[in-house]
């Protein structure tokens, strides 16, 4: 990791650690949710930015992680660690199976298949009322006592997400990550060089799904509930837009996109019920004017300033 990036990460981590000192429950909840969505978007970017495929069904693994956590903690009264491990294992297993089928395809066929699988997950969550609560949602998750209060949970969440992001960074900047970039840029050439492109894309999908599951399991705890909307396709679209808004060619871009979109949604909700209209406009603006997202914009501005000097 380059030194300025490391310093910036440490600074952000420290600033986030200071949030509870503001003594506002609202801000603690807000930053907690932003961090969760940031991890969710970063995980999706392993598929989009690194392997070069677009997934329309990423919410499925978020929901699997969340429901697993909620059900094991509450219905089966598991303690935190085994429940968390199971949530990770379930999202790993689900994405491994789905990836097996999806990575046989590319482009639009890949995207459609991811969508189909996510609707399947949604269907199960909707219809399996006795287990998931169906359309009413799984309300009232029993969070273990030592993190039941707001501030301890915030720090727990911060540490888990911090560690997850660090691991994602290492994965994306390892030889594996570089190989993925090669696959993205030119799969045929990458294949000739000796890279097993399908296996690489399979791993990218599994990594993305697993980390989305971690984000989902934290979401279930912060909301003390899990709802079918979390598995529905608009959720997949939202995280996709977060990734695009932030910039898919930058590792941290999606996190910035997640924070921006989340804050924007909260703010517009206070003034208008027409959030979808705002969202559509944002998407249009990204596609037309900011193909590399906010991270790309920031870089362009920096280049401009350096040139001006």
């Amino acid at each position: 990791m380059t030194r300025p990036v490391l310093a910036a990460c440490a600074a952000v981590f420290l600033l986030l650690a200071l949030v509870p000192l503001l003594e506002s429950n609202y801000l603690i909840d807000l930053f907690n949710e932003i961090m969760i969505y940031a991890l969710f978007a970063l995980s999706l970017n392993v598929i989009i930015g690194y392997s070069g495929n677009v997934s329309f069904g990423h919410a499925a693994y978020f929901a699997i992680g969340g429901y697993t956590m909620a059900i094991l903690l509450t219905t089966y009264e598991w303690s935190l660690l085994p429940a968390f491990a199971a949530a990770v294992a379930f999202s790993f297993a689900a994405s491994a199976v789905v990836a097996y089928f999806c990575t046989r395809l590319t482009d639009i066929y890949f995207a459609m298949l991811t969508l189909a699988f996510s609707m399947l997950v949604w269907g199960v969550a909707f219809k399996w009322r006795s287990m998931t609560g169906g359309d009413d949602g799984f309300v009232g998750v029993d969070v273990p006592a030592f993190i039941a209060e707001r501030v301890p949970f915030y720090y727990f969440s911060l540490v888990v997400i911090g560690a997850a992001v660090a691991v994602l960074w290492v994965i994306c900047h390892s030889a594996f990550g570089r190989a993925l970039l090669a696959v993205r840029e030119n799969p045929i050439r990458a294949g000739f060089v000796g890279i097993n492109t399908r296996l690489m894309r399979w791993w990218a999908f599994v990594v993305a799904g697993t980390f989305a599951g971690i984000a989902g399991s934290l979401f279930a705890m912060v909301h003390r509930g899990m709802y079918t909307e979390s598995a529905f396709w608009p959720e997949s679209a939202t995280v996709l837009i977060m990734t695009l808004l932030g910039g898919m060619y930058s590792f941290f871009g999606p996190a910035i996109g997640a924070a921006s979109l989340f804050l924007l949604e909260r703010l517009t909700n206070e003034y208008t019920e027409y959030w979808p209209l705002v969202l559509g406009t944002i998407l249009l603006a990204i596609l037309m004017f900011l193909p590399e997202g906010l991270a790309g914009l920031a870089q362009a501005i920096r280049r401009q300033i350096l040139r001006g000097r």
């Binding site: 910036a8 600074a11 952000v12 600033l15 986030l16 949030v19 503001l22 506002s24 429950n25 609202y26 801000l27 909840d29 807000l30 930053f31 909707f126 009322r129 169906g134 359309d135 009413d136 949602g137 309300v139 009232g140 909301h223 003390r224 509930g225 709802y227 909307e229 979390s230 941290f252 996190a255 910035i256 924070a259 921006s260 804050l263 909260r266 909700n269 019920e273 027409y274 906010l294 920031a298």
Partner: protein, 390 residues
């Protein structure tokens, strides 16, 4: 870049949260203001504001002005949960009121439990809210699915129906109402047999598949809880097939309200028996005349909606409890609400100290064409009290 963004939002949010608070009473209001639920949510908001204005004109609660903070629940439990939490943590509301749709009610109640804030549910009917999911800070002034199902079973018995098709929305309200009807049928019409169970997704607009299933099932009665625009769509799609000539339609979900009958006018089908909390043309309690006149003046129409009275009663309960408790503290408020009794435009209402449930009955009857009325009215109107006789 990210750091400055975080710092800026933190600063903005702190400023917003630190606004004046001490000399006012803050009420968090949760109704759907857009989409499928707005048919009921908008009039409910009207009644809420009417109660708040009346109280403020008389000096507020405990001498403090009442300020409402309204949020759209979008009819979704996840959105309602987030909105309720934000009302408490950001706007610092003293109490939550409202909720439309049972799933939303349960989600708000869970937030109230975690945050230790009183929630008065004015519309959600799922029995679970005051049974297995009850906690010290949740109270309901609406009716519930066991009362409603029991009343529907009484009508099934009166009409002598033998074969019942049940069509319900696929969420808490629908499932609990189906259970309520089943229990009621055992009491009142033990020889009626349920021949078909249908479940419709909340927010559905296409009912053709369900209509043909009902028509093919050979039932003489349909019990249902399709409310609001669900019923409007269902009736408009079923009428051309002669569905309502073939069966008697007994419905919960307040489709006898002015909102639905007045909106559908000539499209309102035959053979419908339904319920409502209030009718602008029926004065059950003497105080209703003045209430209805005030509402009419506010709404700009003599034919007023039904939902305002529910939201109105919710606010009045909170005000009465706060005055009795002498504070807006959640535990004091909860203590005062237990056993609280107030007079409302639709009669005296008392909250059971054990179950936290108000004895809210409903008006039931057939929806008929009447000379001089340009849409269907309930006639005769029967008040079925909130009592289940074993």
């Amino acid at each position: 870049m990210r750091r400055s963004l975080l710092a800026a939002t933190a600063a903005a949010a702190v400023l917003a949260a630190g606004a004046a608070q001490a000399d006012e009473i803050r009420i968090g209001v949760l109704y759907p203001i857009a989409g499928t639920g707005a048919v009921y949510g908008e009039p409910a908001m009207h009644g809420h504001n009417m109660a708040v204005d009346e109280l403020n004109a008389a000096g507020g609660i405990l001498g403090k002005k009442i300020v409402s903070f309204a949020r759209d629940t979008k009819l979704k439990p996840a959105a309602a949960s987030a909105a309720a939490k934000e009302l408490i943590t950001k706007d610092g509301v003293d109490v939550l009121v409202g909720g439309l749709s049972s799933a939303v009610g349960l989600a708000i109640s869970e937030v109230a439990r975690q945050e230790g804030v009183v929630y008065v549910a004015t519309i959600p009917k799922t029995i679970k809210l005051t049974t297995e999911k009850r906690h010290d800070h949740v109270f309901r002034t609406a009716s519930h699915t066991d009362f409603e199902g029991d009343a529907m079973a009484q009508i099934v018995a009166q009409l002598g129906l033998k074969k019942i098709c049940d069509i319900q929305l696929d969420y808490a309200y629908g499932h609990d109402l189906a259970a309520g009807i089943e229990k009621g049928l055992k009491r009142h019409a033990p020889d009626a047999e349920k021949v078909l169970d249908l479940r419709v997704k909340l927010g559905a607009t296409d009912y053709n598949a369900f209509i043909s299933q009902i028509m093919g099932a050979g039932c003489d009665g349909v019990t249902s809880g399709l409310w609001g625009s669900h019923f409007v769509n269902f009736a408009q799609q079923g009428s051309p097939f002669g569905l309502f000539q073939q069966i008697k339609y007994i419905s919960g979900g307040e489709i006898a309200s002015h909102e639905i009958a007045g909106k559908m006018k000539g499209d309102y089908p035959d053979n419908v028996w339904s319920n409502t909390y209030e009718l602008w043309y029926h004065h059950h309690d003497p105080s209703h005349v003045a209430f209805q006149e005030a509402l009419a003046a506010r709404s700009g129409t003599g034919e007023t909606a039904m939902w305002p009275v529910l939201a109105y009663i919710g606010v009045k309960f909170i005000a009465a409890a706060a005055e009795k408790a002498g504070s807006m503290d959640a535990d004091a408020l909860s203590g005062a609400l237990k056993g609280m009794s107030i007079s409302t435009p639709v009669g005296q209402r008392t909250i059971d100290p054990e179950t936290h449930q108000a004895d809210t009955g409903q008006f039931w009857g057939p929806m008929v064409r009447k000379e001089g009325a340009d849409y269907r009215v309930m006639d005769p109107v029967t008040y079925i009290p909130a009592v289940i006789e074993e």
